[in-house]
Amino acid sequence: MTDCQDTAIQDQLPEFVAGALDSGRAEIVRQHVARCAACAADVGLLRQLQPLRVEAPSIDSARIAAAVRAAQPRRGASSDAAIPSVARRQSSRWRPALLRMAATVLVCAGGAAVWQQLVAPSGRLMAVADASVSLSEDTAGLGRSDGSEVLLQSVSYGDLGDYTAEEMQTVLARLDAWDGAPSEEPLGTLPVVTTTAGHLP
């Protein structure tokens, strides 16, 4: 028996036997097989092999799916090939807010540095104030020697090493006396203490 030279037909024989061809293509193959002994033999062989499917044990698909889900807890963040994931959309939404927060931190840090520059010439500053409150030199007993007002923007008790033992006791006593009640304006009772930088007069 000579081999068939029509490889296009030969390639379709498995699908022909399986009934997977559309009617038009199946008819073309059927007519070819009717006059081709080699292809007819192949069709016979394929039909013999058809029932020889390997028997596999039953598979618990639900258990496998659960194992897959358990093994991929962060799939949205890591597997972003086909479509935008929920995680990636959330990430892009948060990015502007994070940038704004970073900018705020930088501005605050810059402000603190400017503030330190302002108070440095007059010595130590130990005062607390809200950003909206200005304290004059007389009110706070601190500040610039020219009497101009200083806008206090931060809380600082200075370097504790600048306190003498006596001054430290005073600070602690005032802290004990200060209830820090949030319902009242705290500025009037703040335990502000001037120091001698460790050198009593």
Binding site: P14, Q50, V54, I64, G76, D80, I83
Partner: protein, 184 residues
């Protein structure tokens, strides 16, 4: 024998993959359920029957874990079969390193007695079994993927790490050899 996957079937798999990546938990269940049985049959040709469930589960876990490398120019089924074949090869090599088994090459997955041999011995004539037994291992693997799983040459080539043309040659040579043996 299974029919070749219709285009809309492959498209459905791609849609399910996209839904899974978007957070649809049920999409994973459908992707597993649609392919677990064909995958199990494929794996059963290469490993002992009691190993099949473990290999199938590991295949799905690896397939989902490597979805970023999945390209839609192959089908989900081809992707699964390819991973399963490599997984079996890795297992055999690991077993060989432990001294449990002689190491086999990539083209020798069906090297020694497999469940298929037992199946053929029980369910078909000795002549058919002998005819298939005379094929090289790669020929037999290609032949059975084509005949019994209904895979196309391109899919088979992807799975066995060959070319489409080589897969076609292996198939036709196998068909000629089996037919010739049965005619003797």
């Amino acid at each position: 024998m299974e029919a070749l996957p219709a285009p809309d079937e492959a498209a459905l798999d791609l849609d399910l993959i996209a839904r899974w990546q978007a957070g649809d938990e049920l999409a994973a269940s459908r992707l597993v359920a649609r392919h677990a049985d064909p995958l199990a049959r494929f794996v059963a040709r290469m490993v002992d029957r009691d190993e099949v469930p473990d290999v199938v589960q590991e295949t799905f876990i690896r397939a989902f874990g490597a979805l970023s490398g999945f390209r839609s120019d192959s089908t989900w089924r081809t992707w699964l079969f390819t991973i399963a074949r490599r997984l079996v090869i890795d297992r055999r090599r690991s077993a060989a390193r432990r001294g449990e088994e002689v190491e086999l090459g990539d083209d020798q997955v069906l090297a020694h007695d497999t469940p298929l041999d037992g199946l053929l011995a029980r369910e078909t004539s000795g002549r058919m079994r002998a005819a298939l037994g005379r094929l090289t291992r790669l020929q037999r693997e290609v032949f059975l993927l084509r005949v019994q799983e209904g895979l196309g040459y391109r899919e088979i080539a992807t799975i066995v790490g060959s070319t489409e043309g080589a897969a076609r040659v292996h198939y036709h040579n196998a068909m000629r050899m089996v037919r010739g043996h049965l005619d003797d």
